[in-house]
Symmetry: C2
Amino acid sequence: MADGKIISIDGMGGDHAPRIVVEGLERFAKRRADLHFLLHGDEAQLKVLLASAPTAAPRTTIRHTEKMIAMDAKPSEAMRRGKGSSMWNAIEAVKAGEAIAAVSAGNTGALMAQSMLILKKVEGLERPALAASWPTRTGVCAMLDLGADIAATAEQLVEFAIMGQAFARVVNGVANPRVALLNIGSEELKGHESIREAARLIRASNLTMDFRGYIEADKIGFGEVDVVVADGFTGNVALKTAEGIAKMMSDMLKEALKSGPLSTLGALLAMPALKKFRARLDPRKVNGAVFLGLNGVVVKSHGGTDAVGFEHAISVAAGMGESHFRTEVEDNLKRLTISMAQIATAAPASQEVAK
Amino acid sequence: MADGKIISIDGMGGDHAPRIVVEGLERFAKRRADLHFLLHGDEAQLKVLLASAPTAAPRTTIRHTEKMIAMDAKPSEAMRRGKGSSMWNAIEAVKAGEAIAAVSAGNTGALMAQSMLILKKVEGLERPALAASWPTRTGVCAMLDLGADIAATAEQLVEFAIMGQAFARVVNGVANPRVALLNIGSEELKGHESIREAARLIRASNLTMDFRGYIEADKIGFGEVDVVVADGFTGNVALKTAEGIAKMMSDMLKEALKSGPLSTLGALLAMPALKKFRARLDPRKVNGAVFLGLNGVVVKSHGGTDAVGFEHAISVAAGMGESHFRTEVEDNLKRLTISMAQIATAAPASQEVAK
């Protein structure tokens, strides 16, 4: 195991763990022959499952623990009693430098709390954020914060923009990501003061960023920007609204297409097209929210996902773990700090000129 | 015109005005033979259009004005220079007691600003809100605030809950609406303090309300609640996200079903089912946001809607104008005031008990 990079996996987190975890791992192992895995959880259960995962098994080391975090555990509980759990150990392997990234489909609040505690924030950063991809007409768009915290100051929104830009490069492969702030109107005067101030800060800074101003939520799907920045409350509401509407529409479509013999026949004929349609919007293909801004990579898989979704979450973890994400963010944070200092010095003078 | 109730209509507001306004009016007039209409705008244009609207024409009085509010006008501009415009006059007919409600597909900000100025807030109410219906699996759900303001205190959220409840009764015909606050988790500890405080206030009050606590945005479509309450920024983001995803999915579905001869044949066979599917999600059928909390009814139609959508907006205006909405809200506001006074008196004692 010494010569390959390692991904650390919480074997017991998620609604259908450990089964879908090992199945997802097997799928991923087939695509990446060079990576190794640390699998944390109940050895007996995991061994049985790994017996049916011939590609992953030779490259997987099980780290036994009986302790696991309940899906409905409160973050405070996960902090107090989480030590030694499969989730905790998965993160600690990153902290110890054994693994390049950790993945868990367990309780979000617990994962964030433990990750913060074990890995700590990147120095110079005010607040971490949860980022994920959002399907658009043309591909995907990175969105953050999706709920690491409920509010964000202007400075924190700028940090999110910096991290989102690096995320879009590293995870979604966009060379020069277009970044926008989520707002309720494109006019300069609309929205919370923190958002307007963040826009001013980005424009006044010397960040290398293709900043596109504000974006309204109904325009995200057009694919005109690659990164959408919001506070965690707003980002979470937008993400869940999108998930809810997409699920409702696809359920209603299924019902409609089964509503009579002609419709069913029609649906059969159109099946390949309908499958392509569903594949483009498959939430499993965008599974894997990354907890950005920590000294180490932690990826949160959707708790209810299946093997395909978990495979994608591991893939996001690998992409992040192997990338220059951290250096890129740190460079930009330094640039931001310098800019802010310059703005602070220059402000009185420029205000006078304005008068 | 003396014996019928009157709806006041801004003939010039909207992307496709005045054409779709008059077409929508004609459609609505066919359904309601008892109502009359005041149509504000350019007489020459409106006369020509009314000539092709034989049902509406005999019951429509044109009020000429050359002035109109541009779709991209700023609210401040609409306030300063709006007087005498078709929008302004439409609202003023409500203020004068001539009409039971006003409808406009014009600029939202201008309409809200002018409505506030002309009709004033209901006494005892802190802040008006914009409400509209949202399609669910089982019917519709009322949602507010959709952007009358960007923030809301706990007390204002409670007011929104009261107005939303009355709206669901009057516009959506729900006898006993289930009300919930939009939040990012169902746990009591999540979300902004204002939301948690609003939940406490509602529970502690003697409002007659079927209050269901918090709802997450992905659950709205399940039809488990009839009213969703949020601050205007969050509500607007959720609404626009939903619109954006719905539009993207239906566009992608159309593309998919035209992607080859078999799919096209399949789509043809499944056409009635697909039409039913689209009809259930037709945004025109839920068109018409009501500006709640003013001394008079003002309905905002989507600016880009067509005749079917505008017809629905007039129908919402008629429903609101003919209802006991105002009495109901005022009764509940009084109950709230009494409750708050009681809570304020009782609070020190109950806090001691808690210790």
